[in-house]
Symmetry: C2
Subunit: 419 residues, 2 copies
C-alpha cells in the first residue's frame, strides 16, 4: 500500500509559463518554471518540495550504491579550521575557497571538499593494518566561491555532493577498490536514467596520481569535450587526450567527439593527505607507514541539473521513472461530488499499486492543466473529467507518448503492472 | 526481513576509555568516547557512522510528525544574500551572524535561521487567499557565530535544525495551526524517549508577539530554569515568570523549579517578515493584505546532545529504543569455525525479526567488549562465547538491566516479540 496522494495546491508552488530572464540554461529555466527550484541569488538555489523529492530519489540511489561497496555514512561540518587547510597548503591555493571570520579571531574555510576534515577525523582510529581498509561517505552541502556561477544547477556557489573516502594499507588494495567504485558510479548513472549517455572518462590525476576518472554525460549544452571509444566504453578528456592516445592500446581507437557535462569523478589521492596530517599505521611487518586514500565525488544537485538538461523537450521536463518526484500526475478537470468520488476511486487503485500520486484538483482549465503536467514531467498523466465518469474509464498518457488512451477503471492495475 | 548485521570494525571508529580533556559536558564526553562524534574544533563536530544513525532516526521521527501536520519538505541554502538581511534590519543586529565575502564583492550571511530566505522564496506563489495556508519545512545546517560555544552538542557554531514555516490568511488560522504544531512537538519528544522530562514552556514572543513556547528538557546539567505546573502540564521560563503569574489562571499554581535544556521552540511571527519583503495576497473581499507567519524550530543535533545528557549512566549511553543506532549489540567473544557458525545462526534469527544488529566479532577480550557495549549504549546486548555454543543459548542483557540472562536459541524470537 502506498501513501495518500499529495495535493498539488498543498505544495504551494505554481508553474510559470514565462521563462526566467536571469537563467541562460535549459535546466534552470525548466526547473524554475515548473516549481522545482527557486533562484535565491546567482549560483544559489532553494530546492522546493518537487525538487527536494527528485533530489531525495537521486540521493537514495547513491546511498544504496555506496553502501553496496561498503560505504558507511557520516556527516562532516561545513566550517573547517584554517589550520587544517594550512596543513595541506591549500588555504591560499584553492582558488574557490570561501573564508569567514569567527567572532574571536580565527578564520574558517567553508568546505568545498573534505579531505582537510576526514583525514584528521580518522587519525585516532588508524593504528594497525587490521584497522584498514574502510570506506566512509557523506551527502552534504559544499561551498565554492565561483567567480561566475553559470549553467543553473551545474556550477553553483552552494551545492550538495556525495563524497566517499577510502583508506587502504596498500596501493594494490586502493587500485582494486577504485575499480569497484568505478562500477558503482556506472550503476548510479544507469539507475538515474542517464546511463546510455554517460561514460567513464580518463582524466588527469593532477598532483596526486597519473590518472583519474570523470563521468561525462552527453548533452548539446555540454561545456566539456570528450573523445569516446565505443570499443572500450571509455572516453578521454581534452586535457589528457594526447597522452592517452600515445599509449599502444589506445593508438588505433576510433573516437567520437562529444559535448558533455561532468557528473562525477573519482581520484586516487595517494598518501599526500595522510602525510600532511601525520596519519600512520603499523603494517604486518611492524613498519609505521601512511595509508593510501581514494576519494569519489558526485554533485547531487549538479546531477539533478544534468538530468534535467538531458531529459526534456520543448514542453517541459521528462523525468526518468526512477527519480521522478511522483509516479503519476492525476489532473481532475471540473468539479462536483460525482467527479470527486470517481477521483477517490482512482486514487485508491493507485495507492493499492504503491504508486506516488500528485493530485491536481484545483480550478484550472483542461488546457492549463495539460500544460502544467507536461512542464512538471511526471512519467504518467491521468486525466479525470466528466467524460471519464460516464465511461468509467480514465485518460492515460505517458509523458513520452504523443497520444492519450482511455483505460477502463478495471484495467488500470494491469496498465501499471505491464509497466 | 531486516538488513544484514553491520560489523563494528567496518564503522572504523573505536571507543576510548579516556575522557576527552577539552569537553566539559556529559553529552560530548560520552559521544566522543563512544565514537558517535568527533570534535573538529570548538562548537563544530563531525557525526561519525554511529552518530549519523542516531541523528537519522531522530530526524525520521521529526519528518513524520511534520508531515502529519501538513508540512512539505524543501531545502534552503546556507548562503544568504546580504540584501535580504538588510531588508529585515537583522544584518547588523543578529549578533551571531557569520558573514563571508564573495570573490566579486558582495557579502553573504551564513544562515542562522531562514525567515530571510523562505519569505522571499514564497512571494511569487502567494497571490490569493486560496493559496493559503501552507506549511513547509527543512532539516538543514545552520551557522551561528557563538562567542563561546559550550556544552558539547548543545550550543555549537554549526548545527542541524528542523525549521518549519507556516503561512496563513488570518491570525485565527495561525493560532489554530500553532496548537497543532505544539502537539506535534510533544509527540516528537515523546517518540524520541524524553517525553516524560520535556515540557512546553511559555516564553516571551520577543518583538513578534506576546508569547512563544519553548520545549524544555529536565536535566541536572540544564542551563535554563523553568517553573513547572503539573496541573497545567506547562512551564513558564524565567524571563516571563512574573508576567505569567500575574494572570488570574496562573496565580494559584503550584510550581516546581527545574533545571532544563531548551530542545525546541515555536513562534508566531505575525506579519513582520511579509511586510519586509512585500508579500501580499488578495483576501476574499479583494483587499490586499499580508499573510501571518509562524515558525517552528528543533535543533536536531542539539536534541541528540540533550538525549545523551538525559539518557546515560556512569558506564555510558543508554539510548531510547526508538533512536538507538542499532537494536541489538552482538558481541562474539573468542574465535573458531563453530563459534562463527553459531553467531551466524543467531544473526539470521535477528534478521528475520527485522532487528538492526551491530556485530562485534573483533579480537577484544570479554571485559573490553562489555565495557564497549555499555559505553555505546545499544538497548540489548547479546554475548556469544563458547559457553553459548555448548548450551545452544545466548546471554542477553538489556542496557537498563543489571544482570544478563541465558535465553535458549529457540526462545530468542519470543524474547524480542515480548519487547
Amino acid at each position: 500500500m502506498g501513501k495518500p496522494a499529495i495535493r498539488y495546491s498543498d505544495l504551494f508552488t505554481k508553474t510559470s509559463m514565462a521563462a526566467p530572464q536571469e537563467e541562460n540554461s535549459a535546466n534552470a529555466r525548466l526547473l524554475v518554471r515548473a516549481g522545482y527550484v527557486s533562484r535565491v541569488m546567482a549560483g544559489v538555489y532553494a530546492y522546493l518540495p518537487l525538487g527536494k523529492r527528485v533530489l531525495d530519489k537521486i540521493e537514495a540511489i547513491i546511498h544504496d550504491e555506496m553502501q553496496a561497496i561498503g560505504g558507511h555514512e557520516l556527516l562532516l561540518p561545513g566550517l573547517h579550521p584554517q589550520e587544517n587547510w594550512k596543513a595541506t597548503g591549500r588555504w591560499d591555493k584553492f582558488d574557490v575557497l570561501f573564508k569567514t571570520h569567527g567572532e574571536d579571531g580565527p578564520e574558517y574555510a567553508l568546505g568545498p571538499t573534505h579531505e582537510e576534515v576526514i583525514v584528521p577525523v580518522v587519525k585516532s582510529f588508524v593504528q594497525s593494518y587490521r584497522d584498514l581498509p574502510f570506506y566512509t561517505y557523506q551527502i552534504q552541502t559544499k561551498f565554492r566561491n565561483e567567480l561566475r556561477p553559470k549553467s543553473g544547477l551545474l556550477r553553483g556557489r552552494e551545492f550538495r555532493m556525495k563524497d566517499l573516502y577510502s583508506f587502504h594499507a596498500t596501493q594494490d588494495d586502493l587500485d582494486a577498490y577504485y575499480e569497484k567504485a568505478l562500477q558503482a558510479y556506472i550503476n548510479v548513472f544507469e539507475r538515474c536514467g542517464i546511463g546510455s549517455v554517460t561514460v567513464p572518462t580518463i582524466a588527469s590525476g593532477g598532483t596526486f596520481s597519473e590518472w583519474s576518472h570523470e563521468f561525462q554525460t552527453e548533452t548539446a549544452a555540454g561545456e566539456d569535450t570528450v573523445y569516446y571509444s565505443a570499443a572500450k566504453q571509455m572516453a578521454v578528456n581534452d586535457e589528457v587526450k594526447d597522452k592517452v592516445l600515445a599509449q599502444e592500446d589506445w593508438a588505433n581507437e576510433t573516437l567520437e567527439t562529444r559535448k558533455t557535462i561532468e557528473v562525477g569523478n573519482i581520484f586516487k589521492l595517494g598518501t599526500k593527505f595522510a602525510e600532511d596530517f601525520g596519519v600512520k599505521f603499523q603494517d604486518s611487518d611492524g613498519n609505521s607507514i601512511h595509508p593510501v586514500i581514494g576519494c569519489y565525488g558526485i554533485g547531487t544537485t549538479r546531477l539533478l541539473g544534468a538530468i534535467a538538461e538531458v531529459c526534456h523537450d520543448e514542453n517541459g521536463l521528462i523525468w526518468p521513472e526512477s527519480i521522478a518526484p511522483f509516479d503519476v500526475h492525476v489532473a481532475q478537470v471540473g468539479k462536483g461530488d460525482e467527479l470527486a468520488a470517481f477521483t477517490e476511486t482512482v486514487l485508491a487503485q493507485l495507492k493499492a499499486l504503491d504508486l506516488d500520486v500528485l493530485l491536481d484538483d484545483g480550478p484550472g482549465s483542461f488546457g492549463s492543466k495539460m500544460k502544467d503536467a507536461d512542464l512538471i514531467g511526471i512519467p504518467v498523466r491521468i486525466v479525470i473529467g466528466s467524460r471519464a465518469v460516464k465511461a468509467n474509464a480514465v485518460e492515460v498518457k505517458r509523458r513520452t507518448d504523443k497520444d492519450a488512451e482511455m483505460i477502463a477503471l478495471d484495467a488500470l492495475a494491469d496498465y501499471f503492472r505491464a509497466g
